[in-house]
Amino acid sequence: MDHDTLVAFSKSWGLFYLIAFAIGVCVYAFWPSNRKMFDDAKKNILDRDDTPWQ
């Protein structure tokens, strides 16, 4: 594999997988049914935390 092949690969697939990943993350963050899980997560850390749950 020479330098030009590597450059072509990174300039095309590097772009595609980053954009695909960005879309995936946005879908996960804004998926309506995830809202409750996220709201619980950010509120639950403020609860009492003196012992582990069994």
């Binding site: 997560a41 950010k42 935390d49 069994q54």
Partner: protein, 551 residues
């Protein structure tokens, strides 16, 4: 501490330490008078010292059988103490070498105390010693509290914490003997690097196993940041430190990378050490301790997810901005520059998320110096990430590179962001861990805050001035087309700024000493809650006075 281990766990601990001591003996025998041999003796002394501690309580009564019903806080407490000890050491070395730049005679004409050898003791002391121990301690706390589960190991947390400190000791003692790989932030030699791999993989497995035990269905975002810190630092460390030692009994090694590839691998490592050691883990601290202290949930959880993935994937590409105007291919420089500018988006998303969490609670920020530490940290995080994106632009870099502007930028991040969020987190964590209502003295937290803020501002402004003056003097031409200033001219112009920088650093060090005293007094001097016992200050009264759902 040891009494919390069962007798079979004490045996395991003793076996590990005996094996380590034997490795130390073998290193000493192979290395003889080489620094490798000296490090063998250090490994031996460290292991035997810990072995003595284990054996002194070897036949103590067995611990309670319901350990799973409580969190494992002993390693966190020791981690905080080690972190503060390294802070004082690392910041003292920083003040010393800053003073050496103003007054070179402070090197005392000895080889070990020259700037080149002491400078890595400062960087390793503050980044790995202070920052690393604080990250390990807070990660053990955050993962247990947010998972509602005890750490998934009795010995492994100690192995991680004490093994990491052995690495730091080997690194720092090596530098004064002249041992170095000549790679910034990766100066420690091959045997210390191998040891760190063992420690770090144990850390990773411990963290994963604890998360697997979680009772909370969702993994809180702070844990994602800590996981990114652990995973990426392992990858960076292994790839950048691939090296062949000259012989098995010799400290010196040669890297397998050559030329411009070596430079690229080093700065891929170096910049991601900033990203994943000095940013990701500390963002984990911020996302837990800031909402906790403010008593308000994070402003937007969705934004925290978006900025997490943004930071994780953008930072990986930014390292080549350290190599502008070098033999590195132009397109790789452009790539690093572009990603560095894009990084501003997820960085400001995190900083904004933190400040918007405080929006509506500014009276708390005004009254509580601990929360103010974290607020200032978020502001400095925003400022230094903006500055970082700016400095990564090639024409800007032509002015700033190799000047004190870089040092000013690093310290805006390291003092203003990393140290401030750490102190804010520790002031939140320490009273909770030792079961106190508050720190020993709120006034001393206030004193520390103003010392740290004044020190940071003096330091950063001195270096901005000095750096821009340096950069301009180096590129000023006369009408004849020759350089207007010699290098020594620019050096003389730096003199007042170097004095100011040493003074700013001194203020910051004094603040850390105040913090040590305050933390010590919180842990020891305040009367313990009645009924507690030596070495077990928290468990029994906590479960006794406040029955948990488990009981």
């Amino acid at each position: 501490m040891i009494t919390e281990l069962t007798s079979s766990e004490r045996q395991y601990a003793a076996v590990i330490l005996v094996v380590m001591a034997m490795v130390g003996v073998a290193m000493a025998a192979l290395g003889r008078s080489d620094p490798f041999g000296v490090h063998g003796v250090i490994v031996l002394v460290y292991s035997v010292g810990l072995l003595f501690l284990v054996l002194s309580s070897f036949y103590a009564p067995e611990p309670r059988t319901d350990r799973q019903a409580s969190y494992y806080d002993d390693p966190i407490k020791v981690g905080i103490a080690l972190s503060m000890a390294w802070a004082v050491f690392g910041m003292f070395m920083g003040v010393w070498i800053a003073a050496q730049l103003a007054w070179p005679t402070l090197a005392f004409d000895a080889a070990w105390s020259t700037f080149g050898r002491l400078r890595p003791t400062h960087t390793t002391g503050v980044i790995f010693g202070f920052g690393g121990n604080a990250l390990i301690a807070t990660s053990f706390h955050v993962v247990q509290r947010t998972s509602r589960a005890r750490l998934a190991g009795q010995i492994s947390p100690w192995f991680v914490l004490l093994g990491f400190n052995l690495f730091c000791i080997l690194a720092v003692t090596g530098y004064v003997m002249g041992v170095t790989q000549s790679k910034e932030y990766a100066e420690a030699e091959w045997y210390a690097d191998l040891w760190l791999v063992v420690v770090w993989v144990t850390y990773f497995i411990l963290y994963l196993r604890t998360l697997a035990r979680r009772k909370e269905p969702h993994i809180y975002v702070a844990n994602w940041y800590y996981m990114a810190f652990i995973v990426v630092v392992a990858i960076l460390h292994i790839v950048n430190n691939l090296a062949v030692p000259v012989s098995i009994g010799h400290a010196k090694s040669y890297t397998i990378w050559a030329g411009v590839q070596d430079a690229m691998v080093q700065w891929w490592y170096g910049h991601n050490a900033v990203a994943f050691f000095l940013t990701s883990g500390f963002l984990g601290m911020m996302y837990y301790y800031l909402p906790k202290r403010a008593g308000r949930p994070i402003f937007s959880y969705r934004l925290s997810i978006l900025s997490f993935w943004g930071i994780t994937f953008f930072y990986m590409w930014a390292g080549s901005h350290h190599l502008h105007y070098t033999a590195l291919p132009h397109w790789v420089q452009n790539l690093g520059m572009t990603f560095s500018v894009m990084l501003l988006v997820p960085s400001w998303a995190s900083a904004g998320n933190a400040l918007l969490t405080l929006n509506g609670a500014w009276h708390k920020v005004r009254d509580d110096a601990t929360l103010r530490f974290m607020m200032v940290a978020a502001v400095f995080y925003g400022l230094s990430t903006f500055e970082g994106s700016f400095l990564a632009i090639r024409p800007v870099n032509s002015l700033s590179h190799y000047t004190d502007w870089t040092i000013g930028h690093v310290h805006a991040g390291a003092l203003g962001w990393v140290a401030f969020i750490t102190f804010g987190s520790l002031y939140t964590l320490v009273p909770a861990l030792w079961k106190r209502d508050a720190m020993h003295s709120a006034a001393l937290v206030e004193v520390h805050f103003w010392l740290a803020l004044a020190g940071t501002l003096i330091y950063v402004f001195a270096m901005w001035n000095s750096g821009i003056i340096q950069g301009l003097m180096w590129r000023t031409y006369t009408e004849d087309g020759t350089l207007a200033y010699s290098f020594v001219d620019s050096l003389i112009a730096m003199y007042p700024y170097y004095i100011a920088r040493a003074f700013g650093g001194l203020l910051f060090l004094l603040g850390a000493l105040v913090a040590c005293y305050n933390i010590w007094m919180t842990a020891r001097a305040t009367p313990l809650i009645a009924g507690s016992q030596l070495d077990l200050p928290d468990r029994r009264p906590a479960t006794g006075t406040a029955p948990s759902p488990a009981e």
